[in-house]
Subunit: 370 residues, 2 copies
């Protein structure tokens, strides 16, 4: 198991020398350059939103940027300090900028699927349902509604009575979210395109190109064992998990995630912070395992499950915030606001469910050595 290799006290495990880190970084830099080439070839400028191929390329860019950045962090003492300190924030800026467009698309898909589930198939307008159920959002053909499309705002009273209003509310809420998140996504797409054409990006790309052939290790790095630094990343993760309210999370239906859901606290909920932090530390721990094992890294299913639960936690948390934010749109109809309230609470329950799933997978994991 991956965790056992990370245990520096294990006398049977062999030391992992610094050149494994150099090999990993070279490999990720090569992946980065390949993704960048693919992104340019698949026509990043071919429309308002990217094609499916360019979405894949952007994902691959983020993928390697995160891994390089994470390894720079975990194995900092073994790398040239000045280079490392200059490189990390630039990679973080890049992957953050590239992630935004995908996040908007995924959030909209999640919210429309949830509205669809909450409304019943017959009640929800076919076009939104189709785009939600279609699985992956490719963005092709999904434009921004013109300024005249004031969906979700209070229009003339419809003849639909009582209960019908709530369904109309769900449809209006879906249209409002689609408008707001498509707009946010289009902006994120433009920002990403601008970023990829900027001199700031070209400087990062140049550095990554150098990294693909030459990793600035410290003179002592080649003789060092990578395992203690990888183990330290594991310990930071364990410490952060220990600080989580896992006993509560392991109790189904604890109703914690929605607590203060109507309070004036800023969204996203402050209670989500420690979970988001564990998500990042889990990622760093996973990357450290990749460095130690190279391509032969064993697949740790439980670690993957825990990570997936935390991804779900983040997605649901942000979707809930988006629903709450849409409810603050001026002049929306009460039925729209009601549907957004139900949707917000639904997503906060998914947050709670994700914490439960993490607790369950972590409990199994605790038997092994981290």
């Amino acid at each position: 198991m991956a965790q056992q290799h990370l245990d520096p006290t294990d006398p049977t495990a062999r030391a992992v020398p610094g050149d494994a880190l150099a090999g990993y970084l070279r490999g990720q830099a090569t992946e980065f350059l390949r993704a960048l080439r693919l992104h340019r070839e698949t026509g990043s400028g071919s429309g308002q939103n990217g094609t499916e191929d360019s979405v894949d390329a952007a994902r691959a860019l983020r993928h390697s940027a995160r891994r390089i950045s994470g390894s720079l962090h975990t194995f900092r003492p073994l790398l040239d300090a000045d280079w490392s300190e200059e490189m990390r924030p630039e990679l973080a800026w890049l992957s953050g900028t590239l992630a935004l467009e995908h996040a908007c698309a995924a959030r909209l898909e999640r919210l429309l699927l949830a509205l669809h589930r909450l409304s019943g198939s017959a009640a929800f307008p076919a076009q939104s349902a189709a785009s939600a159920v279609g699985g992956r959002v490719t963005g092709a053909g999904r434009g921004v509604p013109g300024p005249g499309t004031a969906v979700g705002t209070r229009g003339p009273a419809t003849p639909t009575a009582d209960r019908g209003n709530l369904t109309v509310g769900a449809a209006k809420a879906g249209a409002l979210l689609e408008r707001q998140l498509t707009l946010a996504r289009t902006r994120a797409h433009s920002t990403a395109l601008q970023a990829l054409g900027s001199s700031r990006f070209h400087a990062v790309a140049d550095k990554v190109a150098v990294l693909a052939s030459e990793v600035p290790l410290t003179p002592a790095a080649a003789m060092s064992d990578l395992r203690p630094l990888a183990a330290a990343a594991g310990e930071r993760l364990t410490d952060a998990v220990t600080a989580l309210p896992l006993i509560t999370a392991g109790h189904p239906y604890n109703a914690e995630a929605l607590i203060h859901g109507l309070s004036p606290d800023p969204a996203p909920h402050p209670q989500d912070g420690p979970w988001h932090q564990v998500r990042l530390l889990l990622r760093l721990h996973r990357y450290a395992g990749e460095v130690l094992h190279g391509n032969g890294a064993p697949l740790d299913v439980r670690l993957l499950t825990a990570g997936q639960a935390l991804n779900l936690h983040r997605d649901a948390s942000e979707a809930a915030a988006a629903a709450a934010s849409a409810a603050r749109t001026p002049r929306i109809a009460p039925a729209t606001a009601y549907a957004l309230g139900v949707l917000h609470a639904d997503q906060r329950h998914e947050v709670e469910a994700a914490r439960f799933a993490f607790q369950q997978s972590w409990q199994k994991q605790a038997v092994g050595t981290l």
Copy 2:
């Protein structure tokens, strides 16, 4: 264990003769008459809503009415058919009428407590919070707001911005629910008072007075064993439980209870029906156990736990419906509607939690013989 005694195939159990039924019915009739006397003494007419003592007396009246009615149903073949068929609907009418006032009060308390939890202590107005946290709602001093108090309806715009609106929404939602449910409760109280003064009620009370001394058993009843009829009640319960979606319910966070929460289906959710039915059958099964064992009935904790879960299920289901119904009030502010949407979803989640709790207690129970 109570269940073992209900097993007609158990050769070690002794037969329970029909006079145990007569004794039980006489006892419940006596309780009924005592509660009625108490209700009259504690001043049922002393105000808009009842005093705490008269609330207790009404509860005791319902308690014995339900038990008499339930036993008439389970042991029907052993009782005079005409008398039984005349008596049961009258007892059902009485306990239904008496239950309504209490249900309105409990529903309001549940919803205000939930809003309080969702709003955070600082954000929610002190007076509503106090009446909600005070535990038992006695009703003393809680009048209906005058027609001028148009709480929850759209007033002049407040200077509070963005997030603050949602909190204001929670407060307005609380005030709206308080207004609507207090009105419903006051109406239920008047209806109950009218019922208790009606000739229809006096006819029931006369019959119960006769029952306290003389139970109309069939000639064969004294020689009959009560256990097969009690076991049949247990089987009806088991059959109904088997038809419940228990596998889904036992999977935490299955998100079933809120499904179609925004659909035009009538509230309360049709999916709740089978659970409500099991709640009634569980009660009949419990009463049958009381008949067999008299005052010496052993306390079956698991049966109680399952019953409590189903009570919670019913309460949360009705509270969710009340929140949805309040959201259909004309001219409410969007922030009020949003808060009611969150509240509705929160209560539907409690419905789901109650099903999970029932499944857990039932699983334990299945080991024993029902």
